[in-house]
Point group: C3
Chain length 362, copies 3
């Protein structure tokens, strides 16, 4: 039987790829079992928990690269974050919540269009304490930021003797025909500079978010409801224009690797004199105890002022032992605590997690 | 260790496939960067935008075919539409919003059961102007229709010397035990006839949608809120039984390919004398300017009458340049405008898009 | 061009797998076409329907296993249930609604962490009548239960001469800091014992669900709205602590395979004297009529008492013919009816389905 032409048309419309597939299917499954304790103003609750992503966020994805000749390549990546403990998507409104982009790379560098990691995140995430884990002290105590963005345009430079740079721009596409039509769109603009050579890694990054709340301080205390935390703080402080700066790096001494960073966050509110400032630092050390066994320790702190007055502090520390069963699979044990203290007030919140987990890349 | 029988039972229940996989993973990533301007009654707004699917809708999917012997095959396809600019699913209520079916094919033709493209869509989508792009003039100015359907039964005939035909039937399964239990179910019935031979393609298709709104006129003007458009039109006109007829085709002269089509849409409202009629046409030309460079131009128009009185007109035009970097990857630049004019009224809406994009199949 | 280090950092952060992929992509597509009739208190409606999963639930998934040496393996599985007739996810709040776990296996057995099938389900689903189909009489007439659980810890023993066992524990992680903070978390605890040797399969399983409704009786009558069914029953009976016990098995005589099981369900309501008890049984036979043709017949019954008083009965029977076109693909025809009779009341509901379908594994 000859193939129906309609069927052929449908196949063509469906973008049927050539015979040899060019897609790589990959992912990571990370689950831990342990205890999650939360205290808000002395009121505490402890859940025994199975949770996703102690070290890395669980995910699955598709990616590929096509050689177009002359050094030019077409690249794409689609990646979905998963809460492996429940099978839920990290963001159920998204098919691919972590990455979703297509672009070209060549001698000029690389361009990506779509949902991309911000250039700030590329630098920030390269030097968190404690194995860059989700439970790193800096990820628990520092203020949150937009680590990825919709509608992104990203440029990544070539590598010049260890130096590289990256720019990300994204517009909210939220201007409209209503009375407030003269409003400019919300946006994220992000710059990252990176140097890596032998044992040395140094990075600097800057990010500007327009009309986006910080929000992130809440993400620093998993298990504590955002509303509970917000109730501890003055209202109206969490909307506006926010800038982030980070300077970080690491040095590998062989017997140990030191990791550290300084961060400064400033948030201004449109039409208001208030400004929120945060000064943050983190410090970590990673020690190879044996061929397959690594110890990581980290400490991080964020001090937040409202128009020059102390507002609140968050501190976090983390310790983790990672035992590698193979290049792709490890087991780990970890303990982490994050604390928020409201200045000039007895209000505080604390979150303590410990447990053991499995991390498997595929 | 012997494998636990319980584990084996679980694996069997999970439908563990044979060792050699029979699945093809495929997809398409299409993103463009540009400007999206919308004007409603002179009130205009322009967003700089990164958008998905200028030429083809971004997607990923799974498909496969098993040879059962004697010419018989089992086939399936699962395909999800993606807004690549944000990572969102096109329809977040669906795991596979574009296709989701299983069926058999052989000397008798092909049968598909599940969520399928309608036979009308197979013909309609085979001769849109401007490379069958999403931004083709006909896709922007013509009224919308159900291009795919849940609960579908589809038959595709074998190819007889260039002729083939297709039938699609789908019932809404929405009869119920309430007072209105005598209601018949909503439905889509669709027929497509197709002839292709050398440079000639001709198609005719008919589709009948019961108890479905047109709705599609709104999809023709991306960026303009449906509610805004509806406010421009008389109420009550957009629900009822709708029939679609299309006659289209193309002829490839070598130095250029001409594409065109005529469409007629009629909507009647249950228990009301009103009827909505649309007469539509489109015309396009595709010119190979160089080995890898193609120019496409298209114009489309829809004229809508309410019970014989002029109601509104939509017109659209599109121009696109596509430069192929490989069989799988191209870059493009495009400009398209669609306009809705309400007759005997100053009301109008206009949408203008232009930009450059990347289209990559995998 | 050297690869940008930032790009490398992004790739590392994305958990880029090693070159040789270790993922198996698999799935199952099962759709049937037929008639679905529902009667509630004599009020009936019949829909012609295309439905997903007559024999097995349609699904797609990713799974893999890494040999870590010394008999140890790292394993994972991600599996999403699909309504193939519409392309919808079975549970749209989940990326992987059926399974989502990672774990280790070795001489000690297997451990899985995440969303897992309960040990009770492993046994229960090994001996349903009529090919273990979704439309098996026991799946239609018996009360429902949690067949899988979030936050699960599962242990599967090695196989000792045909014997194996399994344990599943899951906590709801729903303790909180509110006034009711002393509440214990909801939970599922489940035990399964299994023996298989030659023609004999025997299983026993126990499951305890805390603070979960039965709910499942409603799932036994597809097409009848849960609210309609609930309206037939006394209120307040469907919340509390529930225990399930099942004893089942099969014997393959060669010319026929007998399948059967007994189930006991007890639900108590916190702080109330009421208890709901169900006594259930099912019986089935599977007969190979020819090399590729199998007939399955099943009958199941559930009798529910409220504090010793008869409350309602559900009965179901199913007949199915399955013709295998290959190891992966079969076509089938089936008829199934389930009925709910409320004792001491004229209230009743009935659901009758028949149709033909395709079942294709990939």
């Amino acid at each position: 039987m000859k193939k129906s032409l309609i069927a052929l048309a449908v196949m063509a419309a469906a973008g049927a790829a050539s015979a040899q597939s060019s897609v790589q299917l990959y992912g990571l499954a990370d689950v831990w079992f342990g205890s999650a304790k939360t205290e808000v103003n002395g009121n505490s609750v402890t859940n025994t928990a199975v949770e996703s992503g102690g070290i890395n966020t669980s995910r699955w994805g598709l990616k590929g690269s096509e050689d177009l000749g002359g050094g030019l390549k077409a690249n794409f990546q689609l990646e979905q974050g998963i809460n492996l403990d429940t099978g839920a998507a990290q963001d159920s409104s998204k098919a691919f919540s972590r990455q979703s982009w297509v672009g070209l790379s060549g001698g000029f560098g690389e361009v990506q269009l779509g949902k991309v990691w911000t250039s700030y995140d590329d630098v920030r995430a390269a030097a968190n304490d404690t194995f860059n884990a989700n439970i790193a002290a800096s990820n628990r105590a520092w203020l949150g930021y937009s680590d990825r963005t919709d509608n992104g345009l990203k440029f990544i430079s070539p590598n010049y003797g260890g130096f590289s740079g990256s720019l990300t721009l994204a517009l909210g596409e939220d201007k409209n025909t209503d009375a407030d039509k003269n409003n400019s769109a919300s946006s994220v603009a992000s710059l990252g500079l990176h140097y890596a050579n032998g044992p040395v890694v140094v990075g600097f990054a800057h990010q500007r978010q327009k009309q986006s709340g910080i929000g992130g301080v809440f993400s620093a205390l998993p298990g504590v409801a955002a509303a509970e935390l917000q109730a501890l703080l003055p209202t109206g402080l969490l909307q506006g224009k926010t800038t982030y700066n980070v300077l970080n790096g690491s040095y590998n001494f062989g017997m140990a690797k030191l990791v550290g960073g300084l961060s400064h966050v400033k948030q201004t509110i449109d039409g208001a004199p208030d400004s929120l400032k945060a000064k943050e630092f983190n410090l970590g050390v990673e020690v190879p105890l044996a061929a397959n066994l690594n110890l990581g320790l980290g400490y991080a702190r964020s001090k937040v002022e409202d128009s020059g007055n102390d507002l609140f502090k968050t501190t976090g520390y983390t310790g983790a032992l990672v035992y590698s069963l193979s290049k792709r699979t490890s087991v780990y044990g970890a303990l982490t605590q994050a604390k928020l203290d409201v200045d000039n007030s007895p209000s505080e919140a604390k979150s303590t997690l410990y447990g053991v987990g499995v991390n498997h890349k595929f």
